[in-house]
Amino acid sequence: MKKDIVLKINGEEREVTVESRQTLLDVLRNHLGLTGTKEGCGNGNCGTCTVLIDGKAVSSCLIFAVETEGHEILTIEGLAQPGKIHPVQKAFIEEGAIQCGFCSPGMILTAKAFLDTNPHPTEAEARQAIAGNLCRCTGYDKIVRAILKVGAKTL
């Protein structure tokens, strides 16, 4: 029950042979070497496996790779432009919003998708937006500050 599929990841078409039961998370990490996407809980709760599909944040642990053919997938590896990191990444660095870094790819992509639809959020909205992403290090305040900083800069 192997299947050849073409996935559009970070603007590039990638051919992979997968089993139907393989999650997008599994295929990204173990077939495509895109290990920026992390596995925490494996059941939709922690947010470390967050990727964007057609611009929307989703849990790659709860999606089969075969479901994503024909859609645009963005992982943390595709966020920076050559020589230029994304404003959300820059703000995370400046605000010290990264400690061990395990939650950061998911946090940053969640923040990016959120800011794309709500460019100037309130603090409450920013906290709500990352409610599904767990961080065991920062205590969240620095992450919230980083998100608000991007919002304030683009005003």
């Binding site: 029950m1 299947k3 089993e19 139907s20 039961r21 999650t23 494996g42 059941n43 939709g44 709760n45 947010g47 967050t50 599909i53 929307k56 944040a57 989703v58 849990s59 642990c61 709860l62 999606i63 089969f64 075969v66 479901e67 969640t110 998708a113 959120f114 709500q128 937006a129 409610a131 599904g132 992403n133």
Partner: protein, 296 residues
């Protein structure tokens, strides 16, 4: 996870023919936020999975001329809650749907999946019950229309046969002078499963404070989401005030049949039903411009 054969049909007849020919070992995949977690845990082991997301008929989302809303079974919850006029017309369902998981969950999860997964705690269910929702259920021979209440059979069980598929939900336009509210209790504000959920819906007689019709539905206090006709009847025909609401809240708590489990004792659930029913009824009154003396 056991491997399975994956199909992503591109039309409804194709999907229904597949279902007809595959029998018991098939599972339907909508957003996958329940199903894939169950597969990871080994709680479901289908030989075949039918992904319904590419079926145009199931991606319909729109208002009819009579202002009823049709929600296709493949439409993600985040699309529904952002749909123009959805929040204004169906405030209580908007509240229920917005509580489901996180943004990430709602970007995949469907209301159809919430219903078909048939968790007693499903957050969309109490509001769907109050709003008089109808389910369009199809097999390869035709479509039947099922009132929401007849869909739920028990924890994880629906009345859909193995060859049947939920196509869409139809929610009729709420009557004039009506308002509703859904409240749930969870230990955490986000990403938690309802210990109790209460939906209350009131219809006023024109130009009065008299309740013409009331609907109350509860989640997580019985094997399925339930309506509470006995206390709905206490409200109908009566003037809305603090005493009546207090009485209805108490009787609703008595009508619930909660169990004790890891999330709560039965006693605590019953008390939550009382408190949340009172608050939901008061909130509905406020939306109808009826001020009820405050308690808690």
């Amino acid at each position: 996870m056991q491997n399975f054969e994956y199909f992503a049909p591109r039309s409804l007849p194709e999907a229904l023919a597949l279902l007809e020919n595959t029998g018991q070992k098939v599972k339907i995949l909508a957003g996958g936020t329940d199903l894939i977690a169950q597969l990871h845990a080994g709680r479901a082991q289908p030989a075949i999975i039918i992904d319904i997301k590419n079926i145009p008929e199931l991606n319909r989302l729109g208002w009819d001329a009579d202002k009823s809303l049709h929600i296709g079974a493949a439409v993600p919850i985040s699309t529904v809650v952002d749909f123009p006029y959805f929040q204004q017309r169906f405030g209580m369902l908007h509240q229920g749907c917005s509580l489901i998981g996180s943004t990430r969950v709602r970007n995949r999860a469907t209301i159809g999946g919430n219903v078909c997964n048939a968790a007693p705690s499903a957050d969309s269910a109490p509001a769907l019950l109050c709003l008089g929702t109808k389910a369009f259920v199809a097999n390869s021979r035709g479509t039947r229309v099922v009132p929401m209440l007849d869909i739920f059979r028990g924890p994880g069980k629906t009345s859909l046969a193995a060859n049947e598929l939920l196509v869409e939900l139809e929610i009729p336009a709420p009557p004039a002078h009506s308002a509703g509210c859904y409240l749930r209790h969870t230990p955490r504000e986000e990403m938690d499963i309802a210990v109790v959920g209460v939906a209350a819906f009131l219809v006023l007689a024109p130009h009065s404070k008299t309740c013409q019709e009331a609907r109350i539905a509860l989640g997580a206090v019985a094997p399925t989401p339930i309506r509470v006709p006995t206390t709905e009847a206490l409200l109908a025909g009566n003037s809305l005030n603090k005493e009546l609401i207090t009485q209805v809240a108490e009787k609703t708590a008595e009508a619930a049949s909660p169990i004790s489990d890891i999330r709560s004792s039965a006693e605590y659930r019953r008390e939550l039903v009382r408190v949340l029913t009172r608050r939901a009824l008061k909130a509905a009154c406020v939306s109808l411009d009826i001020q009820i003396e405050s308690g808690d």
